[in-house]
């Protein structure tokens, strides 16, 4: 059992933000994830981001599907309502809530299995609709909660040519989101707080569908994007200490690197992730260019991180629906129930 890593040094958790909340006000229940799980680092980043943008904790609405990643909304921002949906169907639930209460900030947290396998359809259509939300995929390339099977993103990052020879070609959620019309698209790494926190802040402030693909290593099943052997690896590895049922607590992996830099990150199973951070002067306003760049880099086996695309004045689902400013869940009987004479008129028309 691990606590969300608290920011270090003299009780910074007692600092107050513009609304007078301390970081503690954005914390949640004790995490039940494995010690060192990347997901906990992401929860910490979410807490930091909400604190820094001065979001009143109860104005947030948290959603998730099913999986270790999907458990995390219970571990941050307790004053916010949370909704653990069924597996792979969180996007539709979030969409419905957003339609009902447009005055809240919507955050969806999911896993690569929850989003790219069972949830692919709902993910794609929520993006198409431009639901005003921040959607974070905690991507470990594996099914953690069910003990280490591959997910549809498992091969991401491996050489495209080789990739073609792999059983199933991997789904790159970032490219998919771009193609489906997401208006804020970024990728990062759970261990790169310096990059992740600003990305989340931007996503929470963005109007429209903001998609963040966050690589997040699983310490229990040592899987990683690009790895194709990790499940066997777990068996072998665990057998060495003679039990299939041993999960050794690990320290979270940290990665701190500069714009433009290529960073090789070694995971718990020794595998390497090759992160390429976008240059400072990268222009995130060109959708097709972003797609092309990602395609090129993927061929070189690099995982591009950073803010890949943003349309600052995107419109969202409510614009399309033409709903009133008052959230639908706050409309009064008077606004909802038509007068009796309207009914008389309708009856007359049906005779």
């Amino acid at each position: 059992m691990t606590y969300i890593a608290k920011p270090p040094l003299h009780h910074p958790s007692l600092e107050k933000n513009a609304l007078g909340f301390t970081r503690r006000d954005y914390e949640g229940r004790i995490s039940t994830l494995c010690a060192g799980c990347g997901h906990d680092s992401i929860s910490a980043a979410i807490i930091q981001a909400c604190f820094e943008i001065d979001l009143a904790p109860h104005r947030l609405a948290k959603f998730s599907g099913i999986g270790c990643s999907s458990k995390t909304p219970d571990y941050f921002v307790s004053p916010a309502h949370g909704f653990n949906a069924v597996h792979g169907r969180m996007p539709s639930v979030l969409t419905g809530a957003n339609i009902a209460a447009k005055d809240l900030i919507y955050l969806g947290v999911s896993g690569d299995g929850d989003t790219a396998s069972i949830g692919l359809g709902q993910f794609a259509h929520a993006v198409r609709r431009g639901v005003n939300m921040t959607y974070i995929v905690e991507n470990n390339g594996v099914y953690g909660l069910t003990k280490g099977q591959f997910s549809a993103t498992s091969d991401k990052g491996s050489k495209a040519k080789k990739g073609a020879e792999n059983k199933d070609s991997a789904i790159d959620l970032v490219m998919l989101a771009l193609q489906l019309g997401a208006t804020y698209v970024g990728r990062s790494f759970s261990g790169d707080k310096a990059q992740l926190v600003p990305l989340i802040k931007g996503a929470l402030s963005h109007k429209g569908a903001a998609i963040l693909d966050v690589i997040s290593p699983c310490v229990a099943f040592n899987n990683h994007v690009g790895s194709t052997k990790s499940f066997d690896y777990v068996r072998a590895h665990n057998e060495a200490v003679n039990r299939m049922d041993v999960i050794t607590p690990r320290a979270p992996i940290i990665a701190d690197y500069q714009p433009g830099e290529l960073k090789e990150v070694r995971q718990h199973d020794g595998s390497i992730l090759r992160f390429r951070k976008l240059e400072d002067d990268y222009d995130p306003s060109r959708r097709n260019a972003a797609l092309a760049y990602l395609g090129r880099k993927a061929q070189e086996g690099e995982i591009v991180t950073g803010l890949l695309y943003v349309d600052p004045d995107a419109s969202d689902l409510h614009d399309g629906l033409g709903t009133v400013d008052t959230p639908l869940n706050k409309l009064t009987d008077a606004e909802l129930i038509p007068p009796m004479h309207a009914l008389d008129k309708i009856n007359a028309g049906l005779r």
Binding site: F83, S92, G96, A101, Q122, H318, L328, I337, I346
Partner: protein, 611 residues
């Protein structure tokens, strides 16, 4: 040649056409004309699952007495579809009438000698006056209406009036229609001898309206305060979403033309119900409408709604199952699925409207029930109600009626220190309190999940927490029994030991059947069930009778199963009458089945054999 059928204001006319040919609205015009004559009609489209070129029928029951269900049999057949000619001719009662297009001569073998033939050269008549082929195809329909109107003695003015109303001011449309109509009428006046079937002006329609159940339900959702519809197109439910849209545009726009509603066509049914869950959870009244296949797909979320206690309304416009089955035929065959949908121990309330008026009322009511009980309410419509125009009581709404949003704690209450535990039974009715998201800065937030939880919505794997919650859900089920619409009882004139239970679209045919049986000296007390869970009256009714017929439009006696399972009733006392070929049940079928079973004393056989 048997005696020609003679009847005034009491007969069945059936039209046989090809779909996509424009017959539907011409036939509808005929039904409306009869209504305008003050004579009630029950009218039903029987259409194929395709867009153009396949057989379609329209059956009109004319009944001054007011029997609006299907009677069975056809007195006058308007046979306009060569594909189905044989069966159509075969279907006519001996002594009945056949109206056909005599433009091309047909061999005698094509006819029957025990029916009365009425040929009218429709194609010729139209060809003489209209050039373009599309108009020719189209106006043939209104032309045979002209013939009928003349033959049956419907007032011409009535039809002209209807045409004028329908196309108010659009002369370019009205003129050719009137012309085609007059062509038929004039021909009949000259060439067709008067027949035994007559329409005579009466005053039996009253203030009733003529409307489809889906449209009524859509309107009911507007009055019920629904603000969100997430749906996926499927026959026969599509027109319910369209009805909601139509009436929202009419009644739910604010002064700037902005919408006090939202309608989303989802990518499928799982997304539809998922969106409804999210909206219901957030405090909007939300619904989806679908049919059997959609219910099958929604199972997982329905179970979630039951266990996490999230309000939702699902309109299931039932069609012929299983699987894709008969998409354009009617059935009452989703009861078992809806009642116990999803894995684990679950039960879900259902409402059974019997006509568009109740479709309107139950639609509105369903949102109060969903909000109060925080669970999925199924409104079990049927194609026969949803997609057919019924002559039904006008819509009413009590101006003083407020929406019952159930147990929702406000910021003020929380501020005032009201203790909040999401799944606590505070009032002893097993219905817990909830909060909308964002209600209060520090109090009232909670976590909704489909996994096991304790009274305060915290994740828990403790057996005690789990069973406590599951038992409360059973108690909540008990509470519902007195909140859902009570059954409607009609007693036989004389005391009787026999009863009959039925529901939904069976009502009109049952009314006629009960009268017919009574005439034959068979008296049945009748109970129309209107909701699940069943209230005690239902079981009292069963206890009050030695044997109770249960009339259903499905194969497996699904309502009977629910009665037995929920009420501990001895199955042997419930005798099933089942009609499930996809066509609406008829009065004649009920009369025959009940009479036969009474003769053979079916109800007496050993339990194992019953059903």
């Amino acid at each position: 040649m048997p005696k020609a059928i003679a009847a005034i204001n009491d007969f069945v006319v059936k039209f046989a056409n090809v779909n996509g040919s424009g017959s539907a609205s011409a036939n509808g015009l005929f039904a409306k004309a009869v209504l305008r004559m003050g004579v009630p009609v029950g009218a039903r489209n029987i259409f194929p699952s395709n867009i153009q070129g396949l057989p379609t029928w329209y059956e009109v029951r004319v009944s001054e007495e007011g029997w609006l269900g299907r009677r069975g049999g056809v007195d006058l057949m308007v046979a306009m579809n060569p594909q189905t000619w044989e069966a159509d001719v075969k279907g006519i009662e001996a002594g009945g009438y056949l109206l056909y297009d005599s433009s091309k001569p047909l061999p005698a073998s094509k006819f029957r000698d025990d029916i009365n033939l009425i040929g009218a050269p429709l194609t010729e008549l139209i060809a003489a006056e209209f050039a373009n082929p599309r108009e020719r195809q189209l106006f043939k329909n209104i032309c045979y209406i002209g013939v009928l109107v003349q033959m049956l003695g419907i007032e011409t003015e009535v039809v002209k009036q209807l045409l004028n109303e329908e196309f108010k001011g659009r002369d370019k449309i009205i003129q050719p229609n009137l012309k085609a109509f007059e062509l038929g009428r004039a021909y009949a006046e000259k060439e067709v001898a008067p027949i035994g079937l007559k329409l005579r002006r009466a005053d039996k329609v009253g203030d009733r309206i003529f409307v489809e159940g889906n449209e009524a339900a859509g309107l009911g959702a507007v009055y019920g305060g629904a603000t969100f519809c997430a749906w996926y197109p499927i026959t026969p439910s599509t027109s319910l979403a369209e009805g909601f849209q139509k009436y929202c545009n009419l009644l739910r726009k604010d002064e700037n033309g902005d919408n006090r509603f939202a309608i989303v066509q989802a990518e499928d049914e799982i997304a539809s119900i998922g969106m409804v869950m999210g909206a219901g959870w957030a405090g909007s009244r939300a619904f989806t409408c679908t049919s059997g296949p959609g219910i099958s797909l929604m199972n997982e979320f329905v179970g979630f709604s039951y266990y996490a206690e999230v309000p939702a309304v699902i309109f299931d416009v039932q069609r012929g199952g299983p699987s894709t089955g008969m998409p354009t035929r009617t059935q009452q065959s989703d009861l078992l699925l809806a009642a116990y949908a999803s894995h684990g121990d679950t039960k879900h309330p259902m409402l059974f409207p019997a006509n568009p008026t109740e479709a309107f009322e139950f639609a509105a009511l369903s949102f109060d029930l969903a909000d109060f009980f925080q669970t999925t309410i199924f409104v079990m419509l049927e194609l026969d109600i949803g997609m057919q125009e019924w002559l039904t009581a006008p819509f009413k709404w009590d101006e003083k009626r407020a929406l019952n949003r159930g147990k929702v704690l406000t910021a003020e209450q929380l501020e005032a220190g009201v203790a909040f535990g999401r799944y606590r039974d505070v009032d002893g009715d097993a219905v817990p309190y909830r909060t909308y998201p964002g209600t209060h800065p520090s109090k009232g937030s909670y976590f909704t999940r489909g996994s096991s939880h304790d009274k305060d919505a915290r994740y828990s794997e403790r057996g005690e927490d789990y069973t406590e919650g599951m038992e409360r859900l059973l108690r909540k089920w008990e509470t519902m029994k007195s909140h859902v619409p009570a059954p409607v009882r009609k007693n036989a004139k004389k005391r009787t030991r026999d009863g009959v239970i039925y529901f939904g679209s069976t009502e009109p045919a049952m009314d006629e059947a009960l009268a017919a049986l009574e005439q034959r000296g068979v008296g049945l007390d009748a109970l129309r069930v209107r909701a699940f869970p069943f209230s005690d009256e239902v079981f009292q009714f069963i206890r009050d009778h030695e044997q109770v017929f249960v009339v259903e439009q499905n194969r497996d006696a699904q309502l009977k199963s629910l009665l037995v399972n929920e009420g501990g009733v001895h199955p042997a006392r419930l005798v099933s009458v089942l009609h499930y070929d996809g066509t609406p049940i008829t009065a004649r079928f009920i009369v025959k089945s009940v009479s036969d079973k009474l003769k053979t004393g079916q109800a007496a056989v050993a339990p194992e054999k019953v059903k």
